[in-house]
């Protein structure tokens, strides 16, 4: 094991803090959204991503890519959200094998109702606590990590 490049003490401390922060934050936002809208944070991200798309619809493969999840995880989530009436599936006009996910009016209403509480939760957990410099640092560090994990030809979630 001598030849291993272990983490320095500072790296270890940062890594441990990062894992703790993400674990606590995921739990916090899942609880908040389960309580206020009966869905986990990832489902909420699917609805907001669709609400930002032209005509509130997107190919399933593109929705998986934009939210960085696997196709099977997306398919499972969309099935649940369809049962709630918040998302509908449509055939893709340009590709007979493709499918589109569409945010329904009811799904949009859920977002309008839920967004204020969710933004307050995100703000009080993160942005109210950080300086403008730290907000910028968090974005830059996150972009570096996210880009590094998406090289050409990688085993990316949405290609599985």
């Amino acid at each position: 094991m001598d030849s291993m490049k272990w983490l320095t003490e500072e790296e270890q401390a940062s890594w441990r803090a990062y894992v703790h922060a993400t674990t606590l934050l995921e739990d916090h936002l899942d609880r908040q959204l389960q309580r206020d809208a009966g869905m986990p944070h990832m489902y909420y991200a699917l609805l907001t991503t669709l609400s930002d798309a032209p005509t509130r619809r997107m190919r399933m493969t593109e929705l998986a890519q934009q939210t960085k999840i696997t196709r099977s995880r997306l398919s499972h989530a969309v099935t649940r959200l369809e049962k709630n009436g918040w998302i509908a599936r449509e055939d893709c006009p340009s590709d007979r094998r493709g499918q589109m996910a569409v945010l329904t009016d009811e799904g949009y209403e859920v977002l309008v109702r839920t967004a204020p509480g969710h933004v307050t939760a995100v703000r009080s957990a993160i942005f109210d606590r950080l300086t403008p410099e730290q907000v910028q640092q968090l974005g830059e560090i996150s972009r570096i990590i996210a880009e590094g994990l998406q090289p050409e030809g990688a085993d990316l979630p949405w290609l599985r």
Copy 2:
């Protein structure tokens, strides 16, 4: 909705990048550890936490607190890790209702075998890509977020 304090554009961009980075990283490390050791990242964190404890054992409630997860999630994980022979449960000598989790010799061997590949994955995904200043910033930002989510009397995962 006018009175809502929405996120600024910079905050939104940082938040989106953070969610993407954590989603990709969780997928990446889960895949790496599933492939190399047949367990997700969270199970690995339980084993390393126990390996750092005196005599490689810890009360279940303390293990949940240190890894920031709920008791039921911990209990489920320990049951799986017991079946692998990597963790054993013991009664707590000082508290008749308490239970201890113990890292077995076999569990320790798994860590020794798996740690080099895991450290390489963490290093190449994060620490090889960040400057020393960014490593320090990531730690500081993560500590601020983690501390903010653990106030006195909060609905903390390990108390559920």
